[in-house]
Symmetry: none
Subunit: 411 residues, 2 copies
């Protein structure tokens, strides 16, 4: 089923409000097997609304309109839809009574313009609004379905969930099921390169990638009559994808890397302490986003100065003089210091040059050492990360989080 | 000038991401005197994109497209625009070289699909992208202006602000001048309430608010023929706004609170050390976003466990037993420990209950102590912050940053 969304409201066009309705409705429609091909926002202007409406009725089976159902003069959605479909407007008694009792309840006199909200296109189904005065409207017309809902999310969302979704699920036979793959340490384009043959030949299931800062979500969606049938379709691609993603695949759900790592630490009751230099606390602050981490996190030393590396981690002055703070040797001593001081199961350390200044020829900006100590082993990796200071810090943090993850799941 | 926005991306149509670009661009265009009549979101599908493009070129003077400039197969915005306008695509050497050196720098092989990003419609102006690999494109064609920008906001926003807005102002005779007010510790709606009379009566200057997590940017824009004329218009509202914002106003430019505080520390060569418990490193990681902070930041102890408070900060066991870790007394001893150990000009400490669990009747979730030691004085504030764990951590961090700011400017 082809669907589209038309949001009516000048306040959206001048950027006064963020259009969260479009996202909410799109997500719901996708889950109900409706392919949303267009989202259009148009102002409270009958001619422009009419031009958008005409086109939408030609190209889509389902049109959801939001906004423009209110009492004021510029609320013209119902009237414009009725005009396009050649339907008369008529007083809807139930809605009228409901509105009267509403105004009675708040013991305020109903102004004339509110009456407008009780006039409905003839033959329309009315969608009750439990959180406002403007009812929703559903019209089935020559094989097309047109649904109008009020703009305020607190009115729209319950109406959509409790009425529109029930209506749609009754109509469609197809169901949609998805596999999720969360990937880190590899960019969106490299990921698609890796899967290009599958992506090029996708029909059912379909494949989509969504990049978030230094994380990519891969979604594989099958469309079938039953969950079993969908599972068969998904299993075919699943093995290939998992083989190719290797270590980069860190979750089979849409979870952040730091959220997953915090969960692993908590579930395995692993205590951890950290020493962050170039990452400046980013790893620890991201771990502490997860409730319950206090059970595992002993402490983290953000040892930005050389003094603090000596003072809190027992890094030797001679090491700093001989190899510098950004060195494998320093990272190792940071780890040893953490283990000695904190007696935690795991220790993690970062030291590097985040930039943009401070680089030299043999130690350029982006040179980062990330180390981990666990079960008696010390492992330090050298990385060269390009880009802004922000990117160097973010990638360094994710490299560290990924090291923790691999150690905890024994990779 | 009539404008419209076309957001290209299937991920928006299936509701996986919220379309914040449409709001941002609409707000900016309105402030530049462009009337936005349509926002359209279309998927990564050349035919549907073409149909939307055709129509937009007929009805609008300025068309801003976002998304679909990346390296992957389904990134087709440039190609579709070129096809509509009958322009050939050609390799843009500068963009190619920039990309090559980027991949050379990260010493990773550039995959073939990345090349795509260097091919540009012949005769187009290229908009450099400092935060990603896909440049933007501006085409002037038969009196119409078509601008293509990458989808990720952290790439799009700087390009729009530094290039597109400058370009648009160059085109119109009217010039736009703005006052900026950066506010923390007060929400967007509370801020609008505070200024409702000015907002309701706005014609010239116009007022717009931009909410970021726990920070709001207030922009007052006057439209005039000359800077002097604009200045007169802006001065009228300036006094009123500054009076009403009081302490909440932390900057007269669009700078983050942590960026401002880092700058103040660097400019005044003030050394600082921190002890973060409930904020888990958030304050320090935000300070270290600013290059050059290494000159000021000695260290930060994320003392999540009681042991670490004793071990690294010399908090007395008896204090923890008698008053608990979340107490004024503990915060004071954390500060004293920092001063004693680190000999920095300033020390900052946080301890609190971020939640969602761990609260008690006399110490509820959201109880936070934020302390600062500077020039021999120790000052500890008690706060009760409502909301999620994330909000408690974020607000606690901003309270601390604001304390540092006030101390440094002698408030």
């Amino acid at each position: 089923m082809k669907g589209e969304i038309i949001n009516v409201g000048t306040e959206i066009l001048i950027g006064d409000i963020l259009n969260t309705n479009a996202q909410y409705i799109s997500k719901e429609l996708s889950s109900a097997g409706v392919s949303v091909f267009f989202q259009t926002t148009v102002g409270d202007n009958p001619d422009r609304l009419m031009s958008v409406l005409k086109e939408s009725v030609e190209r889509s089976d389902l049109i959801i309109l939001t906004g423009g159902l209110g009492p004021t003069q510029d609320d013209l959605t119902k009237e414009t839809v009725a005009r396009l479909l050649g339907l008369d407007m008529d007083m809807h008694t139930e809605s009228y009574d409901k509105m009267m009792s509403f105004f009675h309840k708040i013991s305020s006199k109903m102004t004339q313009n509110n009456l407008k909200q009780a006039y409905m296109p003839v033959g329309a189904h009315i969608i009750p609004n439990e959180n406002g005065t403007a009812p929703g409207v559903l019209i089935e017309h020559e094989g097309k379905v047109i649904i109008m809902l009020p703009g305020p999310p607190r009115e729209l969302v319950p109406m959509f969930r409790d009425f529109v979704m029930v209506y749609l699920q009754g109509k469609s036979q197809d169901k949609f099921f998805s596999n999720y793959y969360k990937v880190s340490g590899i960019g969106e384009s490299a990921l698609e390169d890796m899967l290009i043959d599958i992506i090029d030949n996708q029909t059912n299931p379909t494949i989509a990638t969504y990049a978030k800062p230094d994380e990519v979500l891969l979604r594989v969606t099958a469309n079938a009559k039953s969950e079993d049938e969908a599972k068969l379709l998904l299993d075919k691609t699943d093995k290939i994808i998992v083989d190719r993603l290797k270590d980069n695949l860190f979750a089979r759900e849409d979870i952040s890397l730091n959220g997953l790592v915090a969960k692993l630490l908590i579930d395995t009751s692993t205590t951890i302490s950290l020493a962050e230099s170039c990452t400046g606390g980013l790893i620890t602050s991201r771990l502490t986003e997860t409730a319950g981490i206090s059970k595992c996190l002993h402490s983290s030393i953000i040892c930005y100065s050389n003094d603090s590396k000596i003072q809190y981690l027992g890094v030797r002055k001679s090491t700093l003089e001989k190899y510098g703070a950004v060195s494998r040797e320093c990272a190792e001593e940071m780890l040893k210091g953490l283990i000695k001081n904190n007696n935690t199961d795991m220790a993690v350390a970062t030291t590097g040059i985040a930039g943009p200044t401070g680089g030299t020829e043999d130690k350029p900006v982006g040179l980062v050492y990330v180390g981990i100590a666990y079960k008696g082993n010390i492992h330090v990796e050298e990385h060269n990360i390009s880009g802004t200071r922000h990117r160097v810090q973010l990638k360094s943090a994710n490299i560290a989080l990924n090291l923790i993850r691999k150690q905890l799941i024994g990779l």
